[in-house]
């Protein structure tokens, strides 16, 4: 569903649903923008939140858009994948830290539901060790720095050099999450990422959504 020749911008939404609707309305119309239902939003509103985002984005685009459900599956992957695909998600995430059985079941279930599988490598030093154990690859690998770790420990960096290493061996798309500004997004694309995930600036200054999205969108052209 994602085109490997394109670069994408994924915007994560975690505010209240009425605020999210306003923010999505301010976004420019573009296929390169992926809308993410963030983990806190899913845990707050459940699958209703996903359907809500799907509807808002579809109204804006005038056609169905791409919705990522940041499920962060750790167990019982099958139940969760079915629920969110019915709700209208185009992709779901699973934690790379989950048991291998869970990740591999998650990938199978995503395939069965015809949605993209994304494996989030947050807090994993060597993503290769996980990838080697999987019988089937996911569509997307997310290289990720957690928000809490970023805030408390500024020295930790997203290991951008992993991008080309992984792409050299596996036929997957790479998404980079945890950067906070235009500069980190630029450097993730420069390092060959396919998707860059942003949220903080949108979360903290929703009134600037339109301007921010335009600036970021310049990058993915």
């Amino acid at each position: 569903m994602l085109n490997p020749r394109f670069k994408y911008l994924q915007i994560a939404f975690n505010r209240s649903l009425p605020e999210v609707r306003q923010m999505i309305n301010l976004l420019p119309v573009s296929d390169r923008i992926l809308i993410e239902a963030g983990t806190p939003l899913i845990k707050r509103y459940g699958v209703k939140g996903i359907t809500f985002l799907k509807d808002c984005w579809e109204q804006k685009l005038q056609k169905p858009g791409y919705i990522v459900a940041d499920l962060k599956c750790m167990d019982r992957g099958s139940t969760e994948v079915e629920a969110i695909s019915l709700a209208g998600a185009s992709a779901a995430t699973c934690l790379g830290l989950a048991p291998i059985e869970t990740i591999s079941e998650f990938i199978n279930r995503c395939e069965a539901a015809s949605i993209d599988s994304m494996v989030d490598m947050m807090n994993i030093q060597f993503p290769f060790e996980i990838l080697q154990k999987l019988p089937k690859l996911p569509q997307v690998i997310v290289l990720h720095r957690g928000v809490d770790e970023n805030d408390l420990n500024r020295e930790k960096q997203i290991p951008l050099y992993h991008i080309n290493k992984i792409k050299g061996t596996y036929n997957v798309l790479i998404s980079v999450a945890g950067g906070e500004n235009l500069r980190s997004a630029t450097s993730s694309f420069f390092n060959n990422a396919d998707i860059t995930v942003i949220w903080r600036q949108f979360y903290e200054t929703p009134e600037q959504t339109a301007q921010l999205a335009k600036e970021f969108l310049e990058l993915v052209k």
């Binding site: 983990t39 845990k43 459940g46 499920l71 139940t79 969760e80 934690l95 830290l97 079941e105």
Partner: protein
């Protein structure tokens, strides 16, 4: 900590849907030793409404565990679950140490019990050692997918005594479904045993397990 160190508890995890959760809760014996859990799938499907609805069904005195499986943004998730009525909240042991530390701190300041789920953690002691403060509960776990696809993975009972020898915390063990397995976990010094209804079981089987627990385990 809200839970008592001297007591033994049975935690009933509710995972499928709210209708079934209601059916099970209505049949449960009333006891402060029975904890009800809003399982992760329920939370992801219904949102925090799953927690508030279960609290409402189980009554104001009930102890509700919110299995948030927090992996990031712990302050927000703790507040969200506590506001919905949770008394105990779960964070993943595999998440970054910064997240777990913030999680425990936030639980303490709000006055709810912090529970760290050690699913897929090789050595829980290694995690506990790195933390600024200890959590109230550690959950030793076999994931459902792990049980389903590799039967030989066992609940590591020896870890219970290892952890209790060094830390003053309660241990919950998840992954039992018969009264014998529950007894075995308690015999191995677990404080809380987590059980859930398999899809092929009747909800009355879960209620029966709870009754047996209150009778057999004192």
């Amino acid at each position: 900590m809200i839970l008592q160190k001297k007591e033994k508890y049975l935690q009933i995890a509710l995972n499928s849907n709210l209708q079934e959760a209601e059916l099970i809760i209505r049949q449960l014996p009333i006891s402060k030793r029975i904890l009800v859990e809003a399982g992760t799938p329920l939370i992801k499907i219904y949102g925090t409404e799953a927690i508030s609805r279960i609290k409402q069904l189980a009554g104001p005195q009930a102890y509700v565990v919110a299995d948030m499986k927090t992996a990031d943004l712990s302050q927000r998730e703790v507040r969200m679950a506590a506001e919905a009525g949770a008394s105990g909240i779960v964070c993943l042991g595999v998440s970054p140490i910064e997240t777990i530390d913030l999680f425990i701190k936030e639980c303490k300041s709000i006055g709810v019990d912090s529970m760290i789920d050690m699913m897929n953690v090789q050595d829980p002691l290694m995690i506990l050692k790195k933390l600024k403060t200890s959590p109230d509960v550690v959950i030793l776990h076999r994931g459902v997918d792990e049980i389903e696809f590799s039967k030989e993975k066992q609940i590591p009972y020896y870890q219970i005594k290892q952890i209790k020898g060094s830390y003053n915390i309660l241990i919950a063990v998840a992954g039992s479904d018969t009264i014998r397995e529950v007894q075995r976990a308690i015999f191995n010094d677990a404080d809380i045993v987590v059980v859930w209804k398999e899809f092929y079981q009747a909800s009355s089987a879960t209620a029966k397990l709870a009754e047996d627990f209150l009778k057999v385990v004192k």
